[in-house]
Symmetry: C2
Subunit: 251 residues, 2 copies
DNA sequence: TCGACTTTGTGCGTGCGTTCACAAGCGGTA
DNA sequence: TACCGCTTGTGAACGCACGCACAAAGTCGA
């Protein structure tokens, strides 16, 4: 911890090394937004847009312009002052930082409703994530192709994942099976797991887990709607119908 | 902004008002975790567990014990020192804070692969979110029941949502349709939207949007795997193969 | 009844992330 | 070539959230 930002590295290609060096310092939240910027930029690129200003891009991505510039500054200085950013240049740099240059192959475990949906996505939007393996416990499903890929039995996870060099595992199983599936994926060398099962997974330090829990998302929304309803009902900070100092905000 | 925490409210039921008062102060991040605690607690309750300490609960939820206690303190003091928390009590309080006492009915728009999966969830795990309406543009789908609910045409969103008092809208359409669908939901009075389409939605201030973007999640994972690979390759802070001070951490 | 132990609730310091504001830099123009 | 206006990149201040560490408070046993 608290490693001093020593600028004494002299090995490797200058630009490359600088990127890797920087990758550590990018805040988690900024990484998520970079992915959004990439999506917007890709759309612009397809529409023939070649240049964009931070103001335009930030609006399209739904964030603050200053925040966008700071986020982009984490990956380097690729803009032109007085002009803006070259769309293609930004796309390629963000892709490199996000590690999208290497092709990640994805395995989906649990071919239920959600698993089907994921398998049929077939190469997630924004490309670069080909689904190359599917697994399920149900013997009736084994061998049947879903989205063009045949389903393997769950016991084959380790072998198949090693063989096809799967780098990202997606868990879409019922909750009780999730941990066991996770363990198998880990033992197959998978270091990234996207978990749709409402379970807290136990993994070694070298494995990254992201979870998507639809019920949690719903409950967060529910919280906000409840808060809104309460505010509307006038149960706010000593609010008796008037503003704090008798002033009406946004009449 | 900067409203002083005035303790001069004398209206409404004491406990209720205190809750609403507090709801404003709960950090966004804490709300998300409360939902996780609720899930874990529900599981414990079903297993017959009646009491739990912050240490146990925090481990089950995968967070720091101190953080858990702080999160729970946002909703009130319902623990017993020297003992712990009563599971049922916590469950009911978290449910109230998250607004789960009122039944939210959910509409899913876009009955493709993902929409099917969502519709078949039928009342999301952890109950309280009954799916009561489905919509799609495809005339062939209209009338066909999915997960027990017949599909309506997308033009009927406003009427049906108003009639069934839908409070949460889920957008699972292709990207180009998302904004238009969103607008219709909003005009039907829906104030909470869960958006699976990779698009930045424009909504009025009084509407809450949460987005789930699978490609973004993948890309975040990709970033981490890339960072790990770089570290392993030795492109770290002046690392020449040895630890910072020549010591091997975790041999 | 009293003491010792256990666990909660929270005040406070620290670190991270966001925002502001402005200097630096570049293209266009005369 | 020199000036002007526009946009980037970033230093610095702010605010929030996290985690520590401890006092408060309750239970259990003697």
């Amino acid at each position: 911890m608290a490693a001093q930002r020593g600028e004494g590295d002299t090995t490797a290609t200058p630009a490359e090394a600088a990127d890797k060096e920087r990758a550590r310092a990018i805040p988690e939240a900024a990484v998520a937004r970079l992915a959004v910027y990439l999506r917007v930029l890709s759309g612009m690129s397809e529409s023939g847009v070649t240049a964009v200003s931070s103001e335009e891009l930030s609006q399209a991505a739904g964030v603050n312009a200053a925040k966008l510039r700071k986020d982009l500054s984490y990956i380097g200085s690729y803009g032109t002052r007085g002009v803006g950013y070259d769309v293609e240049v930004l796309v390629s740099h963000i892709e490199r930082i996000l590690g999208l240059t290497r092709n990640h192959s994805v395995a989906v475990v649990g071919i239920g409703n959600l698993g089907h949906a994921l398998a049929n996505y077939g190469g997630f939007p924004g490309r670069g994530f080909p689904v190359t393996a599917l697994f399920d416990v149900d013997a009736d499903l084994v061998g049947i192709p879903v989205g063009g890929i045949p389903v393997n039995h769950i016991d084959e996870i380790t072998a198949v994942c090693l063989e096809r060099e799967v780098s990202i595992g997606v868990i879409a199983t019922p909750p009780p099976a999730a941990q066991s599936v996770c363990d198998r994926l880990v033992s197959a060398g998978v270091q990234c797991i996207l978990n749709f099962a409402p379970v807290v997974l136990q993994v070694p330090d070298n494995v990254e887990v992201r979870k998507v829990d639809l019920a949690v998302e719903m409950q967060i929304l529910s919280f906000h709607v409840a808060r809104r309803a309460d505010e509307a009902a006038g149960v706010s900070v000593g609010n008796n119908g008037l503003g704090v100092d008798g002033m009406v905000i946004r009449p």
